[in-house]
């Protein structure tokens, strides 16, 4: 599974290598989701991801813009050390909240007014 949508939440199950090739494919595959449903929350699940370059940063900031106007939030989960270095260096943690688990994200979302 590449992504999942439910109740205005879009979860990206990111690939092992998040480069320009993979980022473009993900953008294309999920473009329709934003037309069909009001997405307020984005979750980037890095469980499988071992490699990422600045194209991954472009993917996240691009999707951030699509939910930001609606008062949405963007989360990262299951981030390993290698990926954490890249995310830190890019400065993206100003807009991306890193959480330990999907459960922790759900709790944050509920606090922010989300209900299933």
């Amino acid at each position: 599974m590449v992504y999942e949508v439910a109740n205005g939440v879009l979860i990206y199950y990111l690939p092992e290598e998040l480069d320009h090739y993979a980022a473009d494919m993900l953008k294309r595959k999920t473009a329709h989701v934003f037309d069909e449903e009001e997405i307020r929350y984005l979750i980037f699940d890095f469980s499988k991801t071992q490699f990422m370059d600045s194209s991954g940063i472009g993917l996240i900031t691009g999707r951030f813009r699509m939910v930001h106007d609606k008062g949405g939030c963007v989360y990262a989960v299951h981030v390993n050390e290698t990926i954490d270095r890249i995310l830190l260096m890019s400065g993206i943690y100003r807009i991306l909240k890193k959480m330990d688990s999907l459960d922790a994200i759900k709790k944050e979302m509920v606090k922010g007014g989300y209900y299933e």
Binding site: Y21, K27, F51, D53, S55, I57, T61, T82, R85, S90
Partner: protein, 147 residues
């Protein structure tokens, strides 16, 4: 003392080759005995340079990309070359967050990443002349630390 060991490779300018490019460079430099972190740094830098050649150099059209890698003891030198449109203003292109393609959601961080993950970076280019990205890294040097 080891003598220098050199690798040259030529491949088509297509996005699926980004992965191939960083993997061959990563395998070629194993003789320098890098840490996982150093391998990851080099893979990221190569990926950035090759992606730039594909997206900006050839503007996603047909073309060839060349990578030359030289290792000597624990020094790594990598050159990524294209014969694409070139960069008119290299200084501006290297500014953090500068991008000519914001509509494609390019982060503008490519050169910043290359600079951060390698010890030294040089870019030679002119409009219509293609681009050469030269990168150096000393394996076993103290790792940079990011706050």
């Amino acid at each position: 003392m080891n003598s220098a060991n050199e690798m040259n490779v030529e491949f088509d300018s297509v996005a699926k080759n980004e992965s191939f490019a960083r993997v061959i460079v990563a395998s070629f430099i194993t003789s320098t005995n890098p840490t996982l972190e150093e391998v990851s740094d080099i893979k990221t830098a190569v990926s950035e340079a090759v992606t730039n050649a594909i997206i900006h150099g050839y503007e996603k059209g047909a073309g060839k990309i060349w990578i030359r890698t030289v290792v000597e003891d624990r020094s790594v030198y990598i050159e990524v070359r294209d014969k694409g449109i070139g960069i008119a203003d290299v200084k501006q292109a290297m500014e953090p967050l500068f991008t000519t393609k914001p509509e494609e959601e390019r982060s503008g961080m490519g050169f910043s990443f290359m600079e951060a993950f390698m010890d030294r970076l040089e870019v030679e280019s002119a409009a219509g002349e293609g681009t050469v990205v030269k990168m150096w890294k000393e394996i076993g040097a103290p790792a940079p630390h990011y706050e």
